[in-house]
Amino acid sequence: METEVHEAAGAAGHAGQAVGMPQLNFDYWPNQIFWLLVTLVAIYFLLTRVALPRIGAVLAERRGTITNDLAAAEELKQKAVLAEKAYNEALAKARAEAQAIVAETRAAIQAELDEATAKADAEISAKSAESEARIAEIRAGALQSVTEVAKDTAEALVAALGGKSDPAGVDAAVAARMKG
């Protein structure tokens, strides 16, 4: 076994048992370099044929999707702004219309009211004229009655006082008093 070890160590270029730095054992180099090249070529083909195009495509697709979505969102936002504008316009228009209707209605009511007032005024003045006529008539009637009552009273007083009644004199006296 000892000889074997020494042979092996000798073949590895080292004296005795020491391993030393295997990194500096140049017997290993051809093997390592060969497999390194094989590995690098394998990784390179794995990357260029499959992995990198695929990941690149996925990333590009995602970027595209995000851009499209942002554009769509922008468009929708524009639409929303337009819709809001239209809504505000419609609201303003409706308000104006409502105000117009209110004014119109107010004017109509005012006109009706004015007409009714005028009619009522006319009626009132007609009625008061009539009333005044009747009052005048009544007043005239009353004056007549007062004259008659005064005449009768005067005649009765004259008769009671034992005098001879003189209708003409009584009339004249009453007339004179009524005027006064």
């Binding site: 590895a12 048992q17 290993y28 590995t39 990784i43 390179y44 990357l47």
Partner: protein, 261 residues
Amino acid sequence: METEAEHTGLAIHPMDQFIVKKLFCHTESTAPMNECTTNIHWYDITNVTMWMAIAVLVIAAILVLGTRRRAIVPSRSQSVAELLYGFIHNMVEEVTGHEGVKYFPYVMTLFLFVLCGNVLGLLPLSFTTTSHMAVTVPLALMVFVGVTALGFMKNGPGFLKMFWVTSAPLAIRPVLAVIEVISYFVRPVSHSIRLAGNMMAGHAVIKVIAGFASIVVVSPVVVGAVTAIYALELLVAVVQAYVFTILTCVYLRDAVGDAHH
């Protein structure tokens, strides 16, 4: 015999984890260096092969299996894949500019290999492929040679203007040129040693500290220390993958990016 002495005492073999072994090889020997760990030919199937294959499978699981539904609203696994993709894609675009984006698959390959190698290496009993200079040096050389060749193909001899710092006074430009050239050629060295050194040191330290766990008095401290260092190593594994990749991008910028330096 030396072997017996080591097995009876405090046996700490921090470097044994880095030994390359043939798979499908049986040995009676208990020594770290035996017939399964020596005379390894370039075509032998070893633990390097296995852990690199596992890295490929993990990458496939994350990037291919995770994205199989191609959902607009991603699942968790798809998010991870997209996160990795976006992270490296942004890094390449930001560091090298728009021109460099076509080298993104290469950078992504390097990043995923290093990341998986580093993180898988943290599994207990695993083999850390990126702790070997045999792996990181070819990686760094590929970047170095690739960037240099690309620089000359894109800019022609104008690529050499990179070493001639026009913003400096004329007198010191030759000196700066020498320094620039040296620093340019040191790049692959630092690029590869940084990664392998970080990985190797961390794993060796964990192993050394864990070796003391057989001493009863200190074992609670050891468990705590190993846990803390493990957390640190997890961070180091990710950060070193990031550093390796961003340096690759920085070097790439010299070749494809704007001429100003």
